[in-house]
């Protein structure tokens, strides 16, 4: 996978505070989630990639060029900054047109691209209203629109879903996934795990300025065998199900849910457990089965807690 972005031993500190500590990684095409709690170094990572900060040490390259001091990169890079800050007096259309002119397009091309971007984020009706009067979700979407209006090859999105209602959230997640499928490199930073989970499986986990883990969530999860997996099952007769599975050598512990329908099992070998429980599941009328800690939340909590 050719790397669109490369961090080579990149560090960045603000006085005594180390924001990014000797990070070496690459980000290629497709959607990559940049995850970590507040103050983990996500924003610094993004700002280094967006050429807003120079690395105190090491090197950051985007599309083969040094990120800091290469403004021409922004022909092919789109940035959606985190602050909810706008020129409040401009309308949505004027805002996009002004920024597209700054990208070197002539007026006709600016208008075409602005309309297209507004369509992508479903803000066409509100284009002639002042941004000062937009709702929180609309402001977030117009900010998204300005980052992709010039058809960039690389997109850096800092907390794109913050403050959005479920309907808009769904719309932006689908848009990001579409951009990823088109082969663009999309780096989405967020501290809300299920947001990122909805867009991609490939993540970069950052904590205290270091990269804890990178790659597909499931691959990371499987690397941590010694940590027991949890499997939740909902059955018509949970007691019968319990009696059937408790004998299996893979079951470490078993607990009943409050409403009496749910049984939660701890197991060291999830795959073997799944195959051994199939017959018992049919007799006990299991209607639902999933692994709650296969998702990012638990992976993350587990890695951060270490």
């Amino acid at each position: 996978m050719t790397a669109t972005m490369e961090f080579v031993r990149a560090s960045r500190w603000y006085g005594p505070v180390i924001a990014l500590n000797d990070v070496t990684t690459t980000v290629g095409p497709g959607v990559t989630g940049l995850l970590g709690p507040n103050g983990a170094g996500k924003s610094t990572f993004l700002k280094l990639a967006a050429g807003q900060l120079a690395p105190s040490q090491g090197e950051v390259r985007v599309l083969g060029k040094r990120a800091w001091g290469s403004p021409e990169l922004f022909h092919r890079v789109g940035v959606c900054p985190e602050p909810d800050a706008f020129w409040e007096g401009l309308t949505g259309l004027q805002f996009l047109m002004a920024l597209l002119r700054l990208t070197g397009f002539d007026d006709a091309e600016c208008r075409r691209r602005a309309d297209h971007a507004l369509e992508q984020v479903a803000l066409t009706e509100a284009r002639d209203r002042k941004i000062g009067g937009y709702s929180k979700g609309m402001r977030q979407r117009i900010k998204m629109a300005q980052s992709l209006a010039h058809d960039p090859q690389v997109l850096l999105l800092d907390e794109p879903l913050s403050g959005m209602d479920p309907v808009n959230r769904r719309r932006v997640v689908d848009l990001v996934k579409k951009l990823g499928r088109e082969g663009r490199t999309v780096l989405v930073s967020s501290h809300i795990l299920h947001e990122v989970e909805a867009m991609t499986r490939r993540v970069l986990l950052i904590h205290n300025g270091r990269i804890l883990a990178e790659g597909d969530v499931r691959e990371i999860r499987d690397l941590m065998d010694e940590h027991p997996h949890t499997v939740a099952l909902r059955a018509r007769d949970p007691r019968a199900l319990a009696r059937a599975v408790v004998g299996s050598p893979h079951v470490l512990s078993l607990t009943f849910g409050a409403e009496g329908e749910w049984v939660t099992v701890q197991t060291a070998r999830p795959d073997e457990f799944y195959s051994s429980v199939v017959d018992a599941a049919v007799e006990a009328g299991v209607s639902e089965m999933y692994s709650p800690d296969e998702n990012l939340e638990s992976v993350f909590k587990y890695l951060v807690a270490r």
Partner: protein, 281 residues
């Protein structure tokens, strides 16, 4: 200082509510302002004249004939406070320009007004900040100077005929500080940027002063002095301390009237501008 720049401490609303509710706003803002080194430097400079006056009193008590060059009587206090007015201008810009402007910009005003505080408490809290700053360079040094003068030259000052100096210093300091604070606060509420508010306040006070200078050069009529806030304050000071000055001959009632009108206008602006939500058309 906007809320997001402060370190977060839980606000324990103790019951029952105290009558003076605005004090935490003033205390927090003052704590933040006093933490800035540049401000302490400005304060130090503002107290420079106080030292000069103390030396002046000391020299005149030791060498009475120096009194003819630098007389130490009631008028000295008037001149002292007139110069300190310039420092209230700088302090109001430095400390006060962003008081309301930053809260309007960052939306921190919502946080204040979602506490058990009325808008009046909020304005009083912010006004308290400016009053404290301005009084610290007018009333405090003024009274201190009077006490030192009493101590160093009791024969000169410890007389009933000069007993009016103390109250005059208090009155003039209060008027100067209140007027400057109200104007600075009103201008601060008219903008969302501390810099614009600071320069707007300076432009207003100094612009009127230039206009007065031009009108005086043009028509040489005493009424032109009413136009400038600084000139009004100086007229009051001259009347209070018995200073005769050709530029300010009007009876003190006129400047007092103008200053009252200006203060009421500022309160009206504050009432209109300090609100939680700004309607964007």
């Amino acid at each position: 200082m906007p809320i997001y720049e402060q370190t977060y401490r839980r606000y324990e609303a103790r019951a029952p509510l105290r009558t003076v509710r605005f004090w935490p706003i003033t205390r927090e803002a003052l704590r933040l302002i006093l933490a800035r080194r540049a401000f302490l430097g400005l304060l130090l400079v503002a107290w420079g004249q106080f030292l000069f006056r103390v030396i002046q009193v000391y020299v005149v008590t030791r060498l009475p004939e120096a009194g003819r060059v630098l007389p130490i009587d009631g008028r000295m206090f008037g001149q002292f406070l007139a110069i300190q007015t310039l420092f209230t201008l700088l302090l109001s810009i430095f400390g006060g320009a962003g008081l309301i402007a930053n809260d309007l910009r960052t939306g921190a005003i919502l946080v204040y007004l979602s506490r058990p505080l009325t808008r009046r408490d909020y304005v009083l809290g912010q006004l308290g900040v400016l009053l404290a700053l301005n009084l610290s360079v007018t009333l405090v040094p003024g009274l201190l100077l009077y006490l030192i003068a009493l101590a160093l030259a009791p024969d000169q000052f410890a007389k009933w005929s000069l007993a009016w100096i103390g109250p005059a210093v208090v009155l003039h300091s209060l008027v100067t500080s209140l007027v400057m604070s109200l104007i600075a606060l009103a201008v601060s509420s008219l903008s969302r940027s501390a810099r614009v508010a600071g320069l707007g306040f300076f432009g207003l006070v100094f612009g009127l002063e230039i206009l007065r200078g031009v009108l005086r050069a043009l028509y040489d009529r005493p009424e032109s002095a009413l136009l400038s806030v600084q000139a009004d304050l100086q007229s009051l000071g001259n009347a209070l301390f018995g200073i005769t000055d050709r530029a300010f001959q009007l009876p003190w009632a006129y400047p007092a009237l103008v200053l009252t009108a200006v203060s009421l206008a500022c309160l009206a602006i504050l009432r209109a501008r300090v609100r939680a939500v700004e309607i964007v058309r």
